[in-house]
């Protein structure tokens, strides 16, 4: 272990890694702070750059963007009352109330400290649990891997968006996209118009990076068109005031920090759930803790630090939590980690037990870069407190052309020296961007497409191998206990969200009748 630890450290202990991670962290904070730009989009746009860097440095860059963007979303939530992305919705109420009370600095400082606690705490859970979970996958054969991929896909499909059928449809669409290219076992071309496209880069299938850039980057450029003529420069309160909240106050919130950390990590580790659920659960838990504190803690919702601290610990705890299934099983916790897995796969790194046995030094390097990402996030966010009002005044109408061109160049750059492949990649990104735009517009979730794309290949290979080993028996998946557990989880993941939605609809109707 010590040897791997040293090797992992060697991979990141260089100026290049530190510099790129610092850039990634600043970029992530800015991306998170600007409404309309998301962590997933940032990671997708940075993928081509990470592709050019050594594995640990490239992954470090993406993790720095991820942590920075999750934490940076609290800045507009606190200063403007508008969350940078859904991760910071629960921070808005208390954060903005604190700003109006003249305590913007304390809220921002508290949010940074909370984010750091959440990030580092969940990293500890990641270090402890991911190798154990990865070990479990030793018992997985092709049948188990097939059902595992199915679980990941169905969970994401069922919880993302408000319509189960739309989620499943997008998952199937992603799988179909993954099937384009060559048959994994016979090598036969599986693309429409193969007589035309056989000698083009499309014969290898859709480029994953370009597809992700299109779905998350270019689609957002088109989606933001509707806001182009809306007033964009919102003046943030420049009076930041004192930055650090009193140390005693932070210590008094240890129960809130612990509960939010647990909630964030656990929710993050459940595929498909994400930070937007964790933050509200953490806030609710904080309300209960404050209610039982006999007046020692302020009640969230009244413009107090507790209401900022709880969701901010939780949303950054999700980053480490989401990486547990991502690294151990190859099943992402949210769309951002789905893109991260895509980046790992492009680098030739397959998450799962193999990663933990054959490339343990890289695993340690990933853990260390996550720690460094959190340190950078805290440092840069505190250092730039007085710059935020200026950053927030950058209008999206200026940013969107940059995002578009970065998306094109990013997908082009993946091809390296092959200019024709680069141009094809740009075409793929544009087509996927347009598809993504229309899908988003009609309320179709994008995450299941990404999952379908990433897991499609693994699903097909293992499905065919499992059936082949069983002598053509399709019921092999119902004869193995681990498969049965996964099938049961799949069914539960489909049924529970439907029941919850029905319950909510009934409650709404009741409220209306009243």
């Amino acid at each position: 272990m010590q040897q791997y630890l040293i090797e992992g450290f060697q991979q990141i202990a260089n100026i290049q890694t530190v510099l790129w991670m610092a850039i990634g962290s600043v970029l992530g904070i800015i991306l998170g702070a600007l409404p309309g730009l998301t962590a997933t989009m940032g990671i997708a746009l940075m993928m081509p750059i990470s592709f050019q860097l050594p594995s640990a440095t490239g992954i470090g860059l993406l993790l720095a963007v991820y942590c920075g963007a999750v934490s940076g979303a609290s800045i507009p939530a606190i200063l403007l009352g508008i969350p940078g992305n859904p991760n910071a919705i629960a921070t808005t109420e208390d954060g903005y109330l604190m700003t109006r009370k003249g305590k913007a600095g304390e809220a921002l400082g508290g949010a940074v400290i909370a984010s750091f606690i959440g990030g580092v705490g969940s990293l500890l859970c990641l270090v402890l649990f991911s190798p154990l979970i990865a070990k479990l996958t030793l018992a997985f054969g092709p049948a188990e891997k097939t059902t595992l991929a199915l679980v990941g896909l169905l969970i994401i499909a069922s919880v993302s968006g408000d319509n189960l059928v739309k989620g499943i449809m997008m998952g199937a669409f992603g799988m179909i996209l993954a099937f384009f290219g060559t048959d994994p076992y016979s090598g036969q071309l599986r693309i429409p118009f193969s007589h035309l496209l056989a000698h083009t880069p499309l014969a290898k299938g859709l480029d994953l990076t370009s597809t992700l850039i299109g779905l998350f980057g270019i689609s957002q450029v088109f989606a933001e068109m509707k806001n182009i003529n809306k007033p964009q420069t919102q003046k943030a309160d420049a009076n930041i005031g004192r930055i650090f909240p009193p140390f005693k106050k932070i210590l008094s919130m240890w129960k809130i920090a612990l509960s939010s950390l647990g909630i964030g990590t656990l929710i993050g580790a459940i595929p498909g759930t994400g930070a937007s659920i964790a933050v509200f659960m953490a806030r609710n838990a904080a309300e209960n803790i404050a209610a039982g504190s006999k007046g020692k803690l302020d009640m969230p919702g009244t413009g107090c630090l507790e209401g900022v601290f709880a969701p901010e610990v939780a949303n950054n705890a999700v980053t480490g939590g989401a990486l547990i299934p991502a690294l151990a099983l190859g099943i992402p916790g949210d769309s951002a980690t789905a893109v991260l897995i895509g980046a790992l796969m492009i680098k030739g790194v397959t998450p799962g037990f193999q990663l933990f046995t054959q490339n343990m030094s890289l695993v340690y390097a990933i853990f260390m870069t996550l720690l460094l990402s959190n340190v950078f996030m805290a440092l840069f966010q505190l250092a730039g407190v007085h710059l935020y009002p200026k950053i927030l005044s950058v209008p999206t109408r200026i940013l969107m052309p940059m995002v578009l061109i970065l998306s094109f160049i990013g997908s082009y750059a993946i091809a390296g020296q092959a200019t024709i492949a680069g141009v094809y990649n740009m075409g793929v990104a544009l087509v996927m961007g347009i598809i993504g735009y229309y899908l988003k517009k009609d309320g179709y979730p994008i995450s299941p497409i990404v999952l379908g794309l990433i897991l499609g290949g693994m699903f097909e290979e293992n499905f065919r191998r499992a059936v082949k080993l069983a002598g053509g028996n399709y019921f092999v998946f119902f004869t193995k206990p681990i498969c049965l557990i996964f099938i049961a989880v799949s069914i539960v993941s489909l049924v529970v969200p439907v029941m919850n939605r029905k319950k909510k609809a009934k409650a709404k109707e009741k409220n209306r009748c009243k």
């Binding site: 449809m169 669409f173 088109f222 969107m400 052309p401 390296g416 229309y438 009609d442 065919r464 082949k468």
Partner: protein
Amino acid sequence: MKSFFRTHKKLPLVSLVLSVFYFIYVISMGNTKMAGDEIGGDPGGMVLPMVMACVLFACSLYLFLTDKPKTQNPVALGKEERSLFMLTLISSILYILVIRCLGFIPCTAILLFMLCFSNLRGSVRYEDWVFYLSGAFVSLALELAIYSVCRSLTRALLMAGRKGSIPSVFGSSAMVVFIVLVVTTAFVVLLSVLYHRLCKEKETTFSSCGLSVLLSVATTQYLYVIFKQLFLVELVKGLITW
């Protein structure tokens, strides 16, 4: 027909048709077997694509019948935004089609200028054509100027480094990139000072044009230095042969 589309969403219909075509395509492709599958048992390469086509078809049909469009669509684009949408789409397609002939630098500089200017104006206005033309020309000219300076500097430094006429550290590729980045930044700062001097009144067509030129030149040059010089990506030269 119009009333039909008013009561039914188009997207499920499109995916319904696509799933049917995909199903037919999968069938026509034929089944493929694993190499060495003489004993049998391999379900073949057709099974999963067919299943997915069926799932897509079933979901599309369900959504086509049940998912009705909202009477007032909050995300619908207005006339001005629609013109911007079309400009972005058409110019993106053109960018991809002509980048290999014209080259990365001219295409990127012009596309960025056009999009920034249109976005800042809030729509595509025909009366702005003079600004479009002159702005695109100025962006291109400035970009070519800074590109030529940086290119000459890069060549000179690398050559001098190789000959040993300057300390080897200044001739290393990393240091050359750093120097080029510094020169680019100095040029961008100079341009922004010039912009602030010339465009004292903000929100005018002239100032939007000036800002777009500045953004276009700065972004194109930084992207070029980072991707071409730092990551050695082969950005197409096109017409810019020097």
